[in-house]
């Protein structure tokens, strides 16, 4: 099949935090579009991979960026020896052949790009391709999922109300400590004690969210730090380079965070 390369063969490890799997299944059953909200590195991408695997559907991921045009999503004519050929963009591919399309970091795209998903995400479920003079009705397996980090400051970048209100939302927070330790241990290969310690350290930084930090340390950061330790780096050095330095440039906050982390270390 045409989308075989987009199929996920082995189960991506995903540790559930709440009702997200049931919510996703229900929304998929009704083919409603889904919005995954949450801070960076908390498992949104992993979750969609897991769900695609679980549903046995191909997954097409598009990372949105500022310069992305509607053609980058929908498709364009390409020139081939035999003549011009219409080439489906990733979104059209998913719509036509029935895949889950995952638009990562949707707010990065310009709003005029974002609106191409509108006819797909309401009762019409169609994708009009003006250039190609075609209206593609969505395949019955097609589903659209977007990710969205509400972030701390959203004075400028935000979704249009008419976009937002089309989606079922699933909120991703940081998992409870025990769950998060298990994730960190498994993903980084750190032992249970180290994983627990890393989560305690992350809590210190998350306490500062809104009080000097825009966001606390993500699960991803902890996994990276755990891997640095496994690669032989002493823990305090790994924590500095994996957590403190990337997360802030403010000297007071850096000092405070380093000292608070020092208080976590055995």
């Amino acid at each position: 099949m045409i989308l075989d390369s987009y199929r996920i063969a082995t189960e991506p490890y995903y540790q559930p935090q709440g009702q997200e799997i049931a919510t996703f299944l229900a929304a998929y059953h009704e083919r409603l579009p889904i919005m995954l909200k949450g801070p960076t590195g908390c498992g949104k991408t992993r979750f969609i991979e897991h769900m695609a695997w679980r549903l046995g559907k191909p997954l097409i991921t598009v990372a949105a960026h500022e310069d992305m045009t509607a053609a980058d999503l929908a498709g364009r004519y390409l020139l081939e020896p035999s003549g011009t050929v219409w080439h489906d963009g990733p979104l059209t591919l998913a719509v036509r052949h029935g895949a889950i399309c995952y638009l990562d970091e949707i707010v990065e795209a310009r709003q005029d790009t974002t609106v191409v998903i509108h006819p797909l995400t309401d009762a019409r479920r169609i994708l009009p391709l003006d250039k190609h003079n075609e209206i593609v009705p969505a395949h019955s397996d097609f589903q659209l999922t977007i990710s969205y980090n509400p972030g701390y400051q959203s004075a400028v970048k935000d979704l249009k109300e008419s976009t937002k209100q089309r989606f079922i939302a699933i909120d991703f927070g940081y998992p409870p400590p025990a769950t998060e330790s298990a994730i960190v241990a498994r993903e980084s290969g750190a032992d249970a004690d180290l994983a627990r310690l890393l989560v305690t350290i992350a809590e210190r930084s998350r306490n500062l969210q809104g009080h000097g930090l825009d966001e606390g340390a993500s699960t991803r950061m902890l996994i990276h730090t755990g891997r640095m330790v496994r690669a032989g780096l002493p823990l305090p050095v790994a924590v500095q380079s994996g957590i403190v330095l990337p997360i802030t440039d403010n000297p007071d906050i850096r000092a405070a965070l380093s000292d608070a982390i020092e208080a976590c270390l055995p």
Binding site: G83, A155, D158, L208, G212, D252, D259, E262, L265, P266
Partner: protein, 769 residues
């Protein structure tokens, strides 16, 4: 005036009534007086208010004049004024100063009070500050104003003793020469400068406050309320310990003889200990029939309990506290020695001490470990041990006892000082006398809500100006009357006040000092100039091929048609169709000093300079306008840069010349800014308002009125197609700003110091759309 107040006025003889009657004839002063009275009535009871009214009358009786009264009211309603006694003292001293050095000197002294409070607290040290000011007023009346103006700098060494010796030195070296004195007290003199220069290794509370706050927040997940307590300089008295008062943690201004990193570590240790009590302990012990020794022991066990709890969660805290546990199992077994040894024994499992008492304490504590969550164990064990020690007949003197080790709090915050009338209440008093000397003068009970709720300064309300100082009338605007729900036409008058010129070089210098940030903004400018291009498709030439045009051309070629050869993409610098106006609040509160010694206005100035440089570089159309107000008839606008002007040295001199003063009538300022922007011909119009608090003005007692008016003005701007954004400095004004500009158009800058970075970021984000 409310009914309750009218009753007071008509019902009771005495200062309250006299003052209210006296105010009746003073139209200009009355609104502000009413507002002040209202605020204070919420803090103080009727008797206290009576005393305060008496204080105001005393000032009036020495002909202090309206400016001075207003300064005193401001000092009374400000955040630091939670107790009545220091306020009454202030009025007494103010009257004394007025008698010797005149009303202006007294006014200046009141204005310097906030700096003094910040450095010295409001206890004994502050009374000594007033006494020193009085002395100055009698012996060097001409120098009082200069001293008051430089108060923040003069108090930089951080202790009252340093201030006293500074004044003494000034009087001595000038030897009666007024010119010399004036030079000394306005810090022109070399000795004066040397005296206010700080010991380079000294670390004071204000140096570490921001960092400590973030440190505690990170540790325990709660934002602490930190304050300083003044410390006595003289080496005879023991070093003050940290103290807990309700939700507040009060740390010594300075730990004597401890410097640099060691001092920072000690502040952290003390703060982490105190916050452990608040976050994990939450004990409130009843004093009951306890003896002083038992109280000390209950404190000691409670300290060990909360520290053990804290270290279970955060084991690294042990390294923070361990260096201060230095007791050794040798020497004379006096009570303080034994207590210090027990404290160490409970903290340090490796510590060996054969003393029976210490051993028993250890055993009792170990046995209670399974119940560590209950603060009752502290009381139980403390009482038992207190009995034992009592029977050993070791001497214990509550008056001279200080808690060991150094980083621990004095323990009083753990006791319920409530209506405990049993005989042992004096036990606590003994401690209080020893530990918190200033409480003999002013009670230091749990702080009032205002203090706990909010550390930031109130928006400035300042002295009314004489008609001669007013500028040229340039516009009148309506204002919304919230109470009557109508718009009052031509209610406010805007006057153009010419900018005073400052030193443009100082702006350049400040920018140079902020070189890292400046570099970052310059990079942003470059990236915008690169990225601020329209990608032009189907061009004659360009830097790369336009894929879609190529395809079309290819198709045309193959089908035998003439291809369109415009197959390039090029990027053209985009002329931004945008004008931006920056509206700068210069009201009195921007005079407040930050930990760094800079004022809020200094930071605003740097932020504006940084952004202006970037906007000029980008070729954006922009204007800079400063505003303040002094009642509805005098809303002042000072143009720093007009749209048509280039941002040159003159503009920078005007920016440098801005000074803080008066109030914030935001709605009128917004309307005026709307008028200015309305004339711009660009399609996008952006207004950024820089303010450090909620709107206020001397003739409007209820700030809600002005908030509502400003909200309406902002809606009006929106209707005119102007995007208005509020940038708020510090938590205090955020609620008002959110109401006015809407949540998405309000940016809160928690730390004023971050403003320069945040303002430029905001502009770049807004201007990108």
């Amino acid at each position: 005036m409310s009914a309750a107040q009218l009753q007071l006025v008509s019902g009771v003889e005495g200062p309250t009534r006299t003052l209210h009657l006296w105010m009746r004839q003073r139209d200009r002063l009355r609104p502000l007086f009413t507002a002040t009275w209202e605020i204070l009535s919420q803090r103080f009871d009727a008797a206290e208010m009576d005393a305060w009214a008496g204080a105001v009358l005393d000032l009036a009786n020495v002909n202090a004049g309206p400016s001075c009264l207003i300064a005193y009211w401001d000092a009374s309603t400000s955040d630091g004024a939670t107790e009545i006694a220091p306020l009454l003292g202030a009025a007494r001293s103010g009257a004394e100063i007025c008698r010797h050095a005149g009303a202006q000197a007294a006014t200046d002294a009141f204005k310097a009070l906030s700096a003094a409070r910040r450095m010295l607290g409001s206890g004994a040290a502050l009374s000594r500050w007033w006494r020193t000011m009085e002395k100055l007023a009698t012996q060097a009346p001409e120098s009082l104003a200069a001293t008051a103006h430089h108060m923040a700098e003069i108090l930089r060494p951080g202790t009252i003793a340093a201030f006293e010796s500074f004044v003494a030195a000034g009087l001595r070296t000038a030897a009666g020469d007024r010119r010399k004195r004036l030079a000394f007290f306005s810090l022109q003199d070399e000795l004066a400068q040397r005296m206010v220069a700080r010991d380079p290794g000294a670390v004071t509370f204000s140096d570490v406050e921001t960092e400590l706050k973030a440190f505690l927040t990170a540790l325990y997940g709660e934002v602490p309320l930190l304050r300083s307590i003044s410390t006595d300089e003289s080496a005879q008295t023991p070093q003050r310990r940290a103290a807990i008062a309700g939700p507040l943690i009060r740390l010594p201004e300075i730990y004597r003889g401890v410097q640099d990193d060691a001092a920072r570590a000690l502040f952290r240790a003390a703060a982490a200990h105190a916050q452990a009590h608040l976050a994990l302990g939450r004990a409130r012990f009843a004093i009951g029939q306890l003896k002083p020794l038992q109280v000390a022991l209950v404190n000691l066990i409670e300290d060990a309990r909360v520290e053990t709890l804290a270290m279970r969660r955060l084991p690294g805290l042990r390294r923070l506290w361990a260096p201060y546990h230095v007791a050794t199992p040798t020497g004379v077994a006096t009570a303080p020695m034994l207590l210090a040894r027990l404290a160490r024994a409970l903290f340090d499992p490796d510590y060996v001490d054969a003393d029976g008492f210490v051993g028993k304490g250890r055993a009792l504590f170990a046995a209670a470990l399974p119940r560590l969550d209950e603060h009752a164990i502290s009381r139980e064990i403390g009482m038992l041990l207190g009995n034992d020690l009592g029977q050993m007949r070791v001497q214990f003197n509550a008056k001279t006892y200080v808690v060991e080790p150094l980083y621990r709090d004095d323990g009083l915050g753990l006791w319920d000082l409530g209506d405990d009338t049993t005989s042992s209440a004096e036990t606590l008093e003994l401690f209080i006398e020893a530990l918190r000397p200033e409480q003999q003068e002013s009670s230091d009970g749990p702080p009032r809500e205002q203090d706990a709720a909010n550390a930031a300064a109130e928006p400035g309300k300042a002295r009314p100006a004489g008609p001669d100082e007013r500028g040229v009338v340039i516009a009148r605007y309506p204002e919304w009357d919230r109470v009557d729900a109508i718009e009052r036409a031509d209610w406010t008058t805007v006057r153009e006040v010419a900018a005073s010129l400052g030193d443009a070089g100082s702006i350049d210098q400040a920018l140079e000092q902020a070189s890292v940030l400046r570099g970052r903004v310059a990079r942003l400018v470059r990236s915008v100039r690169l990225g601020r291009t329209v990608r032009l498709k189907r061009q004659q030439d360009g830097h790369d091929l336009d894929l879609d045009a190529m395809l079309d051309a290819g198709i045309a070629l193959r089908s035998g048609e003439t291809p369109d050869l415009r197959v390039f993409r090029s990027a053209k610098a985009l002329h931004r169709d945008l004008s931006a106006l920056l509206l700068i609040d210069t009201s009195e509160s921007t005079r407040d000093r930050l930990a760094s010694g800079a004022t809020v206005l200094d930071v605003e100035r740097l932020a504006v300079a940084l952004l202006a440089e970037a906007m000029e570089e980008l070729g954006d159309t922009f204007g800079l306008l400063a505003f303040s107000s002094d009642g509805r008839d005098d809303v002042r606008m000072t143009s720093i840069k007009r749209f048509s002007e280039a941002y040159d040295r003159d503009c920078r001199a005007r920016l440098a010349g801005l000074s803080a003063g008066l109030s914030t009538r935001l709605g009128t300022a917004l309307r005026h800014a709307g008028g200015v922007l309305g004339k711009a011909s660009t399609s996008r119009k952006l207004l950024i308002v820089l303010t450090d608090g909620e709107p206020s003005d001397i003739d409007v007692p209820d700030p809600f009125d002005l908030i509502e008016d400003a909200r309406r003005a902002a809606i009006g701007l929106h209707a005119q197609g102007i995007d208005a954004y509020g940038v708020v400095l510090g938590r205090a004004g955020v609620e008002a700003a959110t109401r006015i500009f809407g949540r998405r158009n309000t940016m809160l800058v928690h730390r004023v110091e971050d403003l320069p970075a945040r303002l430029s970021e905001l502009y770049f984000r807004l201007a990108r759309r």
